[in-house]
């Protein structure tokens, strides 16, 4: 069970949060312009790396805000937490 520091509420138990998977995958602005492969790339393809991964998390049982987390998937260490819209940190 991690401790996650919500940028709006502070440190809370993992059970208050849900993970939204890989971050920084923007919804295409003009989906109709994309062919099937390009759309599938957005819809299905995720990196699922071992190491530092940028993820979206939601404080669902708290302030309901979404934010980004840089987490090392090999040991669950959270390197950085930053708000939606901010650029991923260089790690």
């Amino acid at each position: 069970m991690f401790l996650i520091s919500c940028p709006y509420c502070g440190e809370r138990d993992q059970s208050e949060f849900v993970s939204g998977g890989e971050a920084h995958i923007a919804r295409p602005k003009q989906p109709t312009e994309l062919n099937d492969d390009q759309w599938a790339e957005y819809l299905f393809m995720r990196k699922n790396i071992k190491g530092i991964q940028f993820e979206r998390w939601n404080h669902v049982h708290g302030c309901r805000k979404w934010f980004n987390v840089a987490r090392d998937t090999s040991n669950d260490k959270i390197e950085k937490i930053y708000k939606m819209g901010e650029q991923p940190p260089k790690i």
């Binding site: 069970m1 991690f2 401790l3 849900v18 939204g20 923007a26 919804r27 003009q30 989906p31 109709t32 994309l34 099937d36 759309w39 599938a40 819809l43 979206r56 939601n58 669902v60 309901r64 805000k65 979404w66 040991n75 669950d76 260490k77 939606m84 819209g85």
Partner: protein
């Protein structure tokens, strides 16, 4: 008692409090302070069980949680009996009843003991081999294996005990109240840290507290005396919270730990009433110090498992702590100095020690010198090659080791004994460290794995870290704790420690014998009966990874997780394959460290507290009116209201007839409700629903279908425009929370530029839905001033109206196909408005109906239920709902996916209606639909999703998803059931009122 096994004047046992207990039907006595094991030993009982596979007699071997043999069934009550309890851990209480497990008909005469002589037929992997080849082999042996395997008996009745959960937070958690943990606690508290100290035993102090030797001294005092003073100080210390009888079960990431405290297991059964039995602590610690100590290893030689063969440290503890002799004719067999402490304890207590056998050439330490001076015979450079005595050891045979230590030479010497104390060195308890993700390092000097790298803020000290001698334990614990806590000085800095130092070391994982290995039984894992032979066989058969060897031989897979066996198994694999043990790695230790009861894991979350349940404001009325309830998510929804012994079918037929012929009323409060406000609310709805929302006027309602980005139907519901920038969205009951999350997600992450605010108001409003041809008359009786004409208040529109002081939102919307009004009021008025409707509807036979009738009524109209008729693979096109997909909108969630190559396939499963050829035959939901039963394999074309008997149509109707269903209207198909095959015809999904005339009453 014929033998004098109890030594008087041990202050850890209260001899003024005699306790009676029953073992295998025999009444025996012990004292307060005894464990069940020490009480049994004081009655000269070693033999307590039979081994798992060979049913060999087994005795108490240890004095702690590593005990592999003394595993008993406690209690004989159907609800309270507990299997697999270690006699070495359970404290004796008055009236304790215990029985041996895994033996039939009795521990002294066990039919399964014949397995011992059949053992050549039960080699490593025996069970796996019977699974694999030949198949008939397994069928033959299954009964035999199932009967002879398995340890204790589970209780057959519900557990009446109370269990509890509690959260604890601390600066420093210290696991283990031995000397190193106690010193760390003192140092941390002197630094003003909030300390939590856990100890699994009843008393603090570890093994040093009962150490009676004169060799080790701390600050010129007997070490146990020094420790007592430290404990007294710690008990008075307000910074330190002490939890005894508390064992750490699991060490998770981020220093989150679970510990179990026994609160009543040591009390007599009568004293446990209304007390919490066990408590699970969920601990968040800023820092963790592991001081769990070490466990002694056995030695691996032929017949090393007889009752009376015990760990040397256990023999010492039974004498020094419990005042119990384990035998009157003792022999020690060791490879290290620590067993000489047992020799001194035996001597001091006046217990006969016949000889010491030591595989080393000599030892020049202080303690061995003392033992030599006592004139005790020591056989240096010797090993045990055999033991005798079926139910209790009576003889050991020893031989001299050759120079290499890989064979025995000379002639055999027989020595008599009734207790053989063995010591193969010590293994640090690194289980918790590895559970937490820590990596181990192999120490070649002591042949141990010690903690190395960790990502967590934790420290291992004392023998858990690999320090075994008192001066190392104390000085390194002080030094490491100070560094860990970033402290300059401590009150222990000038501590003076004297102790014996071991200089000569020797370790042989598998001791040589005069017989070939195949003719010996050198046990590694006593509980699972795996021997060194099995390990070698596994290696010969090609298993290389230690994890595979473990599973194939079942070494370390018992309830003790191989606490005694693992190191020898690794050592033998390393020796056999010429590998360095450090390169081999260890098997994984998984939580819990010691077994937990289910009660502890579940805590208070049993019965009605198992899950939260949500009740509507009208719930009491439903209860008073005999409703049966169904669970929908966490909601309790009225399912149907049986009258005068009606079956569910009867009740549903009556309810749905009433709704169609006069009027019905449904509690719709559970539907998800989301209040949407903001200048971009309309644009937002356009993006999340498939249909167009731009032209929806204030005061009007519209049905919407929501997709996932993959084009599959996610939720549906009616949204009402309450004002210029104000909407009320309804969702399915089960989908409410998920829809809310999904909408928030898009707003916050994809479209933060939209001015939209979402508020969940599901619990804030109660909804009564009145439907049927007489609905208008009933509503008119309640809201006398409301104009209900179709011109003023048409279908799919909304009015705000007051009933006295109560604000009511009335929507004219229908999920049944009937004229229908939904009255929404603030939740606290829910029951009031419901009763108002019932009262007004009395003359029209208003009939409350539940979810089952609602499902039937909507199925007659072909309205889908998301999650019942859809399963996350259905697009709106599959549902034949093409009409709801806006062609004009450039984009909405899921739009692009509706013309992916897969979603435009013609042969997808599509929603259809089904009519049975026999109108009285009701299909089963989930039943498969086929065309040809005889062509093998049978093609599954789809399945029934909803099925009912319609009292209005007087026939059975069903919805189904069917491959290429749209093309198959009129086609005859089959629904094969277990006892018959039902003939069906594919039909339209709308069965009743295709022209939608009933909607206007």
């Amino acid at each position: 008692m014929s033998k004098n096994l109890r030594i008087n004047n041990k202050h850890f046992v209260d001899e003024t409090r005699k306790l009676s207990f029953t073992f295998n039907g025999k009444k025996l006595y012990g004292y307060k302070g005894d464990t069940l094991a020490s009480a049994l030993l004081s009655n000269d009982i070693h033999l307590v069980g039979r081994s798992f596979k060979y049913h060999r007699p087994r005795g108490i071997m240890t004095s702690g949680s590593e005990e592999p043999n003394a595993i008993l069934q406690i209690g004989n009550d159907d609800a309270l009996t507990e299997p697999n309890v270690r006699a070495t851990e359970i404290e004796l209480y008055d009236g304790l009843i215990c029985n041996s497990q895994n033996c039939w008909p009795s521990v002294k005469f066990d039919i399964g003991g014949i397995n011992n002589f059949l053992s050549p037929l039960l080699p490593a992997g025996f069970y796996y081999k019977t699974f694999m080849w030949p198949a008939s082999f397994w069928e033959k042996y299954e009964f035999f294996i199932r009967k002879s395997a398995g340890l204790g008996k589970s209780p057959t009745k519900q557990d009446p005990d109370m269990y509890d959960h509690r959260y604890l937070h601390c600066d420093i958690l210290i696991v283990g109240g031995g000397v190193s943990g106690l010193m760390a606690a003192q140092i941390a508290s002197d630094d003003n840290k909030k300390v939590l100290l856990l100890e699994d035993k009843e008393l603090l102090g570890g093994s040093l507290i009962y150490d009676d030797s004169d060799i080790s001294k701390i600050d010129n005092q007997k070490s146990s005396e020094w420790l007592k003073k430290l404990i007294d100080n710690i008990k008075k210390n307000k910074n330190i919270t002490i939890k005894t009888r508390t064992s750490l079960a699991a060490y998770h990431n981020y220093n989150f730990l679970l510990a179990r405290q026994n609160l009543t297991d040591h009390l007599s059964v009568n004293d446990r009433n209304n007390k919490i039995r066990q408590r699970l602590y969920k601990i968040r610690a800023k820092k963790v110090i592991i001081s769990t100590g070490a466990i002694e290893r056995p030695q691996v030689f032929h017949n090393n498992d007889r009752p009376g063969i015990m760990l040397a440290s256990a023999v010492k503890k039974y004498i020094d702590y419990y005042g119990v002799r384990c035998g009157l004719e003792n022999i020690i067999f060791t490879n290290n100095d620590s067993a000489y402490e047992t020799a001194l304890s035996l001597h001091k207590s006046g217990t006969k020690l016949n000889a010491i056998i030591d595989i080393r050439d000599n030892s020049s330490s202080e303690i061995v010198k003392q033992v030599k001076n006592l004139g005790i015979q020591i056989y240096w450079n010797h090993t045990v090659v055999d033991t005798k005595g079926y139910k209790r050891i009576n003889k050991v045979t020893i031989m001299k080791l050759n120079d290499k230590g890989n064979d025995v030479i000379g002639k055999k010497i027989d020595l008599n004994c009734d207790c053989l104390a063995i010591s193969g060195g010590w293994t640090p308890m690194v289980h918790l460290f590895t559970q937490s993700g820590g990596k181990l390092r192999f120490d070649n000097k002591d042949n141990i794995f010690v903690p190395d790298k960790t990502n967590l803020d934790q420290l291992s000290i004392g023998s858990a870290k690999g320090d075994f001698e008192l001066d190392d334990v104390l000085k390194n614990s002080i030094k490491d704790t100070k560094k860990f806590l970033n402290i300059e000085n401590s009150n222990f800095d000038k501590i003076d420690v004297k102790c014996s130092k071991e200089k000569e070391k020797k370790n042989i994982w598998l001791l040589p014998s005069d017989r070939p290995l195949s003719k010996t039984k050198p046990f590694l894992d006593y509980q699972n009966d795996s021997t060194a032979k099995d390990i070698k066989l596994a290696l010969r058969e090609g298993f290389k990874s230690i994890e595979h060897v473990k599973r194939y031989t079942t070494t370390g897979m018992g309830t003790d997780q191989g606490k005694l066996a693992n190191m020898h198994a690794l050592g033998i694999v390393a020796d056999t394959t010429n590998t360095n043990m450090g390169d081999l790695g260890t098997t994984t230790f998984r939580p819990p460290y010691t077994p937990l009861t289910f009660g502890t894991i579940v805590g208070r979350n049993v019965g009605q507290f198992f899950d939260i349940f949500r009740k509507t404001p009208m719930h009491e009325w439903h209860v008073d009116n005999n409703a049966k309830f169904e669970n929908v998510g966490q909601w309790k929804r009225a399912w149907y209201y049986p009258k005068d012994g009606e079956t569910m079918h009867d009740a549903v037929q009556r309810e749905s007839k009433a709704a169609r012929e006069s009027s019905g009323i449904l509690d719709a409060s559970t539907l998800g409700k989301i209040d949407i406000q903001g200048t971009d609310a309309n644009e937002f709805l356009n993006r999340v629903y498939t249909n167009a929302w731009s032209k929806l006027q204030i005061g009007k309602c519209r049905y919407g279908l929501m997709l996932n980005e993959d084009g599959m139907v996610y939720d549906d519901g009616v949204t009402t425009r309450l004002g210029e920038n104000h909407y009320l969205m309804t969702t399915t009951t089960g989908g409410a929370a998920n829809v809310m999350s999904k909408l928030e997600d898009y707003l916050q992450t994809e479209w933060p530029e939209l001015d939209v605010f979402l508020t969940s108001v599901t619990d804030h409003y109660a909804t009564a839905s009145v439907c049927g041809p007489n609905a208008k008359k009933i509503i008119n009786k309640i809201f006398k001033d409301l104009d209900l004409s179709d011109e003023s208040f048409p279908h799919m529109s909304f009015k705000e109206v007051k009933l006295g002081e109560i604000n009511c939102r009335v929507m004219r919307i229908s999920f049944t196909g009937e004229l229908s009004y939904e009255i929404n009021v603030e939740a606290s008025y829910g029951k009031y408005i419901w009763e108002k409707c019932i009262e007004a509807g009395k003359e029209f036979n208003i009939t409350p109906y539940g979810t089952e009738t609602m499902h039937l009524l909507r199925a007659e109209k072909g309205f889908i239920i998301v999650g019942q008729d859809t399963d996350g693979t259905m697009t709106p096109v599959d549902l034949q709902m093409d009409w709801i997909i806006s062609k004009k909108k450039y984009d909405f969630i899921g739009k692009r996916s509706l013309y992916r190559s897969d979603t435009v396939r013609e042969d997808r499963k599509q929603l259809v209606g089904l009519l049975t050829d026999d109108p009285n035959e009701i299909l089963e939901e989930g039943a498969q639909i086929v065309k040809d039963e005889n062509k093998k394999p049978v093609d599954m074309l789809g399945h029934v999703t909803s099925s009912y008997f319609s009292p209005t149509l007087k026939k059975s109707i069903a919805l189904a998803v069917l491959k290429e269903g749209k093309q198959l209207k009129g086609q005859k198909l089959l629904v094969p059931m277990i006892d018959k095959t039902i003939k069906v015809t594919v039909s339209d999904t709308i069965f009743l009122d295709k022209e939608n005339e009933r909607i206007n009453g």
